[in-house]
Symmetry: C2
Subunit: 111 residues, 2 copies
């Protein structure tokens, strides 16, 4: 990974994918681009991380997939957030907020 791009922490990728899909149906490659763009190029999801993650997430019923042709005429696999996925996104966002808060508390402490 380029040195100006941050590595993700384990557990954050699912949330990012679900969030990207909450903005609208999208194919895999597009998810990577959307996350990169929304984060001002700070987050770069590798393909080798994304596709297995999408598989996992689909197995859990958080997204549904279908092959389709998009406007450019190319085929791609489009993913859509399910109702369960939307719920899961909320849960993961709440956990994330909780963790960020807890860590902030620890960091507030002064010697």
């Amino acid at each position: 990974m380029a040195k100006d791009k941050a590595d993700l922490l384990q557990g954050t990728l699912d949330m990012l994918i679900l969030k990207a899909l909450s903005l609208g149906e999208l194919h895999g490659y597009g998810i990577i681009q959307r996350i990169r763009q929304l984060s001002d190029e700070m987050l770069n999801v590798e393909q080798g991380s994304l596709y297995p993650a999408l598989y996992r997430i689909e197995q859990k019923g958080w997204v549904s997939a279908r092959w389709d042709v998009h406007e450019t005429g190319r085929e791609a696999k489009f993913y859509k957030l399910t109702r369960l996925g939307r719920k899961q996104l909320e849960t993961q966002e709440a956990s994330w907020d909780r963790l960020v808060l807890a860590i902030a508390k620890v960091r507030q402490a002064t010697a």
Copy 2:
């Protein structure tokens, strides 16, 4: 883990340990207590996570360890942040801030 305690994300434990030690020398068991206390009981580090982490961190030169007897008369292994460790803490805090910011950006997006 109790259900009201959050699991850590991988990569955050080192930072928490270093932060705990930045407040003063401490033994392993005490690090767990300090992190729990500072986080208002939100973070609970398991012993099975801590001791291997301390070993890793010591190998990297971020902390130094020595056996000593503390005021209660019990022996314990005391860890102290090294200069390198203090530097590392800053680096990890910066990475953390960066990640939190990047994820916040993604989450700001509205459909």
